[in-house]
Symmetry: C2
C-alpha cells in the first residue's frame, strides 16, 4: 500500500500539478465529484463579469457583433474538438445533452432509412434512454429501442440496427466501451454510431475521428468545468454533416439567420444543428473554462487519472477489508473511465457521512458510492485521504445515524 | 407637438420613473432596442457573482439542493406567470423559445388528433415558422403549415386546423393580435392556440388565462431583461397539462429524475416540459432580473408604453415630413405592442447612422427601422431626443456614407 509520503512525492512530480491553482476549490473539502459538476476555474468569474457588465451592460445589442457573441457556439465547439478527437468545424456547443441527443437521433434515423432499431444498453444513462423513447413515440414509424447488456452489444448489432447509441463511460461503474471496436462492428452492418461523451471527455483522450464514430454529444458541466447546467455540445463527422436534417430547425441553424426570409434552409456544415438563440452568459463561462485545455497533455491526463484511481482502489480495499464494501468498477484500468464505484448495502448513508466529513462523492441507486477523479485539479494526497476517510466511516459505522439514513430528494 | 419641457414634466410625474435606477445603462446612449435585448438590471451582476463564487465555487455539487438550483425552472416560471396572466404552476423556464415551441407544437398536434393543419401568419417571426416546418417534416404524418395574412386569420380558422400558432405582437410592425378573439374563434372550431409572447410579455399586460389561451412560449432576453440568450419559458393551461406528451423527454421532466429508473414517466403538471439539466448561471440571471416585477403596476406600464410610442410617432412625423419616412406600425395604440417601425428606402443605412449617433434601434429587412419602448427604464425625454435624432439624420442625409450603406452580417 502507498503511504502519505509517496503521495506527496507523486504530487511534487505531477506534470499536471500546476493546474490546481487555476481552480477555486473550498478549503477542507476533498472533491471527488467533478464527474457530476466540475470545479470553478478561476478564469470564469472575471470573464463573466466582463461579459455581464461590459458586453451586456455597456455594449447591449451591439455585442452580438462587437463581442462576437454570435460566433460563440462554433468557437466553443472548436475548443472542445481537440479533446474528443474532432476537427475544427465538427463540433458545436448548444442546448443540453438531452436535446442534442434528440437532434442527432432523429437525424441518424433519417440518414439510415428503412431500419427501425435504436440499439443501446440497458444501463445507459437514463436520460439518453428516455430521449430515445420520446423519439420512438413521437415519430410513430415503428421504431424499436432495443436494450441489451453491455457484454451482449457486439452480438446484438445486426442489419436491423439503424443506430448504436451508447455512453462511452458508464455513469454507475465507470466501465468504458471500446469505441473503435463497437463503431467498426456497427459500420460492418451498415449502422451509425452515436456516442454520449459526458463521462469521458475531459477525463481522458477521446478519439472520435480515429474510431470512425459518426455522431456524438456531451455535456459541458462535468470534466469540462463549464458550470452548473453549462451548454452541451454535439459532433457530426464531416462527411455526414450535410446529410443531417435538423428536427429542431430554429433560426440559428438557418443559412441566413438574420435575413428573416421565409422558408427554412439549413446552414452548411455543423451550424445547422443550432436551434434557438445561444445562452451567452452560460456559453461564455464554458468558453473561459475551456481555455486551459490548450496547455494540457492528454496522455499525461490519462496517466494521472489511472494512477489516482488505482491509488484509491488499493487504499480502500486494503483499509476496508471485511467492512462490507466491494469494487463495482472494472479492475482493469483499460476498461475504466476516470471514476470508481464501490457497492455498500448502506451506500446512501455512507455517502452522506462522507460528505459530512468533507469528502464529496455521490450515490447512485441502489447501492453505489461513486468517486470521480479529475486529473486537472486533484492531488494524490487528497485521493489517499479520501480513501482513509471511507475506511474510517465504515470502521466506526459513522453512516449509522438517522440524519444520514434519511434520503433527500436530490442526491 | 410636444416639446422638451413637457417631456421633462412627464418624466417628473412618471410613476415608473424610479425603476430607471435599477438598470445599468451606458452614458450617451438612447436605447430603443430593449425589444431585442433588454438592459442589464443592477441586481444581476451581484447575484451572478454569488451563484458563481459561493454556490458553484464553494458549494459545488451540494448547491443543487442547498442553493435550490433544482427548483429554478419552476421558481422562475412562477415569477413570469403574473406578467402573462398565468397561475402558479402553469409556467416553467427552460431551453430556448424555438425549442419550447417545438415541444408545444408536437404536444398540440397529439392533443387534437385527426387534424393536420398548423395555421399561422406569413409574417410570423421566422424561427417560429422554421420550427413548424421542422415538426411537419419530422413527423411525416401529412401535416400542413398553412400561412395567411394577419387580416385573413379569422376566416382561415376551420375544422381542419389543429393549432393556431401566432406571435402576439408582430416583430416587424408591432401589430398586436386580439388574443381573446382569435382564441375564441379557434376554440369554436375545436382548435388549440399556441402564442409566442416574445414581443409582448414585459411590455404590456398579457392575459393568457382571461383569453382562454391554451399554450404559450416566450423569451427571457427582451422585455424581461434576463440577459443575452436568457432561458425561455413555456405555458400550458392547467387543464391541458397532463395531456401533454413531451417529445423532448429528458430526465428533468421525469417523475423521479434522480431515481435513475428505467422507462420514461412524465412528471405531473408543468414540470414534464423540462428536458435536460437547466443552465443555472443563465437561469439565475433571469431570476434576479425578474424580481423587480413584483413592484410594477402593469396598467401603468402599458399607459407609459403608449405615451412613449405616441410621443415618438408624433415627433418623427412632425419633424420628418417629406424626408421619405412612413409609419409602418398601426396608428391605433390598441393595435400596437410596445414598438414602432418606420419604412425608409435606405432603412439599413439610416439605422447605422442612428447607432453611430448613439440612438440604438434596429433594422429589419427590407426597409424597416424599428424602435422598442421599454417603459421600465426609458425616459420621455430620451424618446423625444431619439425622434429629433432621426429627423436630423434624414434632413442632413447623414445615412449616405459608405460605412453605413455596407451591410454587416448580423444586424
Amino acid at each position: 500500500m502507498v503511504d502519505r509520503k509517496q503521495c506527496e512525492e507523486l504530487d511534487r512530480n505531477d506534470p499536471l500539478g500546476r493546474f490546481r491553482e487555476r481552480f477555486l476549490l473550498p478549503e477542507g473539502v476533498l472533491y471527488l465529484d467533478g464527474n457530476s459538476l466540475g470545479a470553478l476555474p478561476k478564469a470564469v468569474p472575471e470573464r463573466l463579469r466582463e461579459v455581464v457588465e461590459r458586453e451586456w451592460g455597456w455594449g447591449l445589442i451591439r455585442s452580438w457583433n462587437s463581442a462576437h457573441w454570435i460566433d460563440l457556439p462554433r468557437r466553443v465547439g472548436d475548443k472542445i474538438a481537440p479533446l474528443i478527437g474532432a476537427h475544427p468545424g465538427e463540433v458545436v456547443a448548444a442546448d443540453s445533452t438531452s436535446v442534442n441527443l434528440f437532434k442527432l437521433l432523429c437525424a441518424a434515423l433519417e440518414i439510415v432509412p428503412g431500419r427501425r432499431v435504436i440499439l443501446s444498453e440497458a444501463g445507459n444513462f437514463p436520460t439518453d434512454l428516455y430521449v430515445a423513447e420520446g423519439v420512438r413515440d413521437l415519430l410513430r414509424q415503428g421504431h424499436e429501442l432495443r436494450l441489451v447488456e453491455a457484454e451482449g452489444l457486439l452480438d446484438a448489432i445486426d442489419e436491423t440496427v439503424a443506430v448504436l447509441m451508447l455512453t462511452q463511460v458508464d455513469f454507475r461503474t465507470g466501465y468504458r466501451h471500446d469505441m473503435a471496436a463497437l463503431t467498426a462492428a456497427a459500420h460492418r452492418k451498415g449502422a451509425l454510431t452515436l456516442w454520449d461523451l459526458s463521462h469521458s471527455a475531459g477525463a481522458m483522450p477521446v478519439d472520435l475521428d480515429g474510431s470512425g464514430a459518426d455522431l456524438a454529444v456531451g455535456c459541458g458541466y462535468k470534466y469540462l468545468n463549464g458550470g452548473p447546467g453549462a451548454p452541451a455540445y454535439l459532433y457530426v463527422r464531416r462527411a455526414l454533416q450535410d446529410r443531417v436534417r435538423p428536427p429542431l430547425s430554429g433560426w440559428m441553424g438557418h443559412r441566413e439567420p438574420f435575413a428573416f426570409t421565409a422558408g427554412y434552409a439549413p446552414a452548411k456544415g455543423i451550424a445547422r444543428n443550432l436551434c434557438g438563440t445561444p445562452p451567452v452568459l452560460a456559453m461564455a463561462a464554458l468558453d473561459a473554462a475551456l481555455d486551459l485545455w490548450a496547455e494540457v497533455d492528454m496522455a499525461a491526463l490519462r496517466a494521472k487519472s489511472v494512477v489516482l484511481a488505482e491509488l484509491f482502489i488499493a487504499t480502500v480495499e486494503e483499509c476496508c477489508a471485511g467492512l462490507g464494501i466491494t469494487l463495482a468498477s472494472p479492475r482493469e484500468a483499460e476498461q475504466r473511465g476516470s471514476q470508481v464505484s464501490f457497492r455498500h448495502a448502506q451506500g446512501y448513508a455512507v455517502m452522506q457521512a462522507l460528505i459530512a466529513a468533507g469528502v464529496i462523492g455521490d450515490f447512485r441507486a441502489p447501492d453505489l458510492i461513486r468517486f470521480g477523479f479529475t486529473p486537472l485539479y486533484l492531488r494524490h494526497i487528497e485521493v489517499f485521504d479520501a480513501a482513509l476517510a471511507v475506511a474510517e466511516i465504515l470502521r466506526e459505522e459513522r453512516w449509522n445515524r438517522a440524519e444520514y439514513l434519511r434520503r433527500a430528494v436530490v442526491t
